[in-house]
């Protein structure tokens, strides 16, 4: 799903790059070079928008740039960890994304939710028991306005119903498509029922962090990688994909330790799970 801001940024910058590309045509070798650079710029624009977590660390690693988010802390040039030196010992902190309760919040199979709920408690305990190094499991929550959420669900239901009626009115309605629409409607109804029962809609960001120690920065970072890989393996028991956070988000997640941002700031930086 592409939001309005992404459309604005992508369209305006890509249009300018295309304008440059067309300006350069019929200008010999230099024109050809400009065409090549314009195409590179368009590629760069798309990369910044979609895979900036690869571009930014590659850039800082290439030029060996370390960020200093606060006095006494540095973000390694690979943009994968925040390092603190205290008493000659290096403490490296890294982050993983983690959405443990994803299947609960978006329960598509209501009759299985009880099993999921009780299973989550057991799985959490089993996972935590197998960890022998410091880690934090963080749930950042932003309760949403009930009426706004309800209106949004109403809108979505109306759209799905419209798609359904159009499919039904077609000469050969596809059974698979109709079933898919029915399923979508059921999920939306389920969500509306939960709101009606008094449950407040939430936007949630979940992440896991771990801290490793070492007598050198490299040792601390290597140990951190080991710890995060272990966490990734252990938390995979929750049947969810967990990724290591690199790039600009490392700085923002580190900031969360000292200040909980406003809803607007959170929405600007992170995608949330409803």
């Amino acid at each position: 799903m592409v939001d309005e801001e992404t459309i604005l940024y992508l369209s305006s910058t890509a249009m300018l790059a295309l304008l440059i590309l067309f300006t350069a045509s019929n200008n010999g070798l230099l024109g050809l070079l400009i065409i090549v650079f314009s195409l590179l710029a368009i590629g760069m624009i798309l990369c910044i928008n979609y895979v900036d977590f690869l571009i930014f660390p590659a850039f800082t690693k290439l030029f060996r740039i370390k960020l200093v988010p606060a006095n006494g802390y540095t973000i390694s040039d690979g943009q994968e960890a925040v390092v603190k030196v205290s008493g000659g010992v290096y403490y490296a902190t890294g982050y993983l994304t983690g959405n443990i309760y994803g299947y609960v919040f978006t329960s598509e199979v209501p009759e299985e939710s009880d099993k999921d709920f009780s299973g989550a408690v057991d799985r959490w305990e089993r996972t935590a028991m197998n960890i022998d190094f410091p880690f934090k499991f963080n749930v950042m929550t932003m309760p949403e306005d009930v009426q706004v959420y309800r209106d949004e669900l109403d809108g979505q239901r109306g759209y799905v119903e419209f798609q359904m009626s159009r499919e039904a009115a077609s000469t050969k309605p596809n059974d698979m498509t109709m079933q898919e629409f029915q399923r979508k409607l059921q999920i939306l109804q389920e969500k509306m029922d939960r709101v009606s029962q008094g449950e407040r809609p939430l936007n949630v960001i979940m992440y896991i962090e771990s801290t490793a120690v070492g007598v050198s920065e490299k040792e601390a970072l290597d140990t951190l990688t080991l710890q995060l890989t272990e966490l990734q393996t252990l938390f995979n028991a929750f049947d969810l994909s967990i990724f290591r956070v690199t790039g600009r988000e490392v700085h923002f997640l580190h900031e969360f330790d000292y200040k909980i941002p406003t809803e607007a700031e959170l929405r600007k930086t992170f995608q949330t799970q409803k």
Binding site: T23, R64, L67, N71, F133, K259
Partner: protein, 283 residues
């Protein structure tokens, strides 16, 4: 403020790119090298305009970059409030205060039936929507300061041992067999502390704690701290009533344990932690 600056920067860079294009078109027939340079600059400004979406916060520090270090903030990450129950951070005109609410839940899934587990998970879900503002719930596994813990057990052991000796002396049976149930009880307590002392020395020294974090902004330090504490109290009351526990606002060293890596892994246990991980790496 930062949001507005982002848009100003974006429009400014787009405008700069457009100016370069116009300039290039104007001089194309006069100087082809200048035309080429103008279009290259137009492309650079264009890519920077896109980068400004995510990296506005780097544009100012990058000008002052020195020896590969990009200083985003040269101040300490936080200041401890004089009352010791909040940390503060300045961001532009505003001061942000953050409080930490301890959640002492000691229930285990092993002692719950399935309906209780469901109820617990539902209560956790409810806890996430206690207040309207964004807040964070964290569960942290940290390295226990074993030296401190062993000292406490050693003191308890010494106290119990003294008490036992006094009781035995009083009854006039030093070295003899105990007769009274009190002496028997005391001897049991001494054995318990001895066993605990031995087992803690051998066991992995980790502990787990859950806490909630909430922030508030204010024009002055006092205002921010008071607002944050009010939110913290609201959060503590909500969590307390949901789980039937007494949630309290953390103070001093307790806060440091949540935010400082060197308090999460105390110096006393560094060797243990480093050797565990090094051992695993060798394997």
């Amino acid at each position: 403020m930062a949001f507005e600056f982002r848009w100003v920067l974006f429009i400014g860079l787009l405008a700069a790119s457009l100016v370069c294009i116009v300039l290039a078109v104007a001089i194309v027939s006069i100087n082809s090298i200048a035309w080429f340079v103008a279009l290259i600059f137009a492309l650079i400004f264009d890519v920077l305009a896109m980068a400004s979406r995510y990296y506005t916060y780097l544009f100012e520090p990058i000008r002052k970059m020195h020896k590969g270090k990009l200083v985003l903030d040269s101040n300490d990450p936080y200041i401890m409030a004089p009352s010791g129950n909040a940390i503060m951070k300045r961001d532009g005109e505003l001061i942000y205060a953050t409080v930490f609410v301890k959640i002492p839940i000691y229930r285990s899934g092993t002692e719950m039936q399935d309906p209780e587990k469901v109820e617990f998970a539902v209560m956790f879900g409810k806890m996430l929507s206690i207040i309207k503002e964004p807040f964070r719930i964290s569960t942290q596994l940290y390295v226990l300061n074993k030296d401190e813990y062993l000292d406490k057990i050693r003191n308890k052991l010494n106290e119990a041992q003294d008490k036992y000796n006094q009781m035995v002396e009083k009854s006039g049976r030093v070295g003899g067999k105990e007769t009274s149930p009190e002496i028997e009880h005391m001897r049991g307590e001494v054995t318990m502390w001895k066993n605990m002392f031995a087992s803690v020395g051998r066991a992995k020294s980790h502990s787990m704690i859950s806490y909630a974090v909430v922030s508030a902004a204010g024009g002055t330090e006092e205002e921010a701290v008071n607002l944050a504490i009010a939110k913290g109290d609201e959060l503590a009351a909500g969590i307390g009533s949901t789980f039937g526990i007494v949630a309290t606002i953390a103070t001093g060293d307790e806060i440091l344990q949540f935010i400082e890596p060197d308090h999460m892994i105390p110096v006393a246990n560094l060797n243990e932690q480093i050797s565990i991980r090094s051992g695993e790496r060798q394997v």
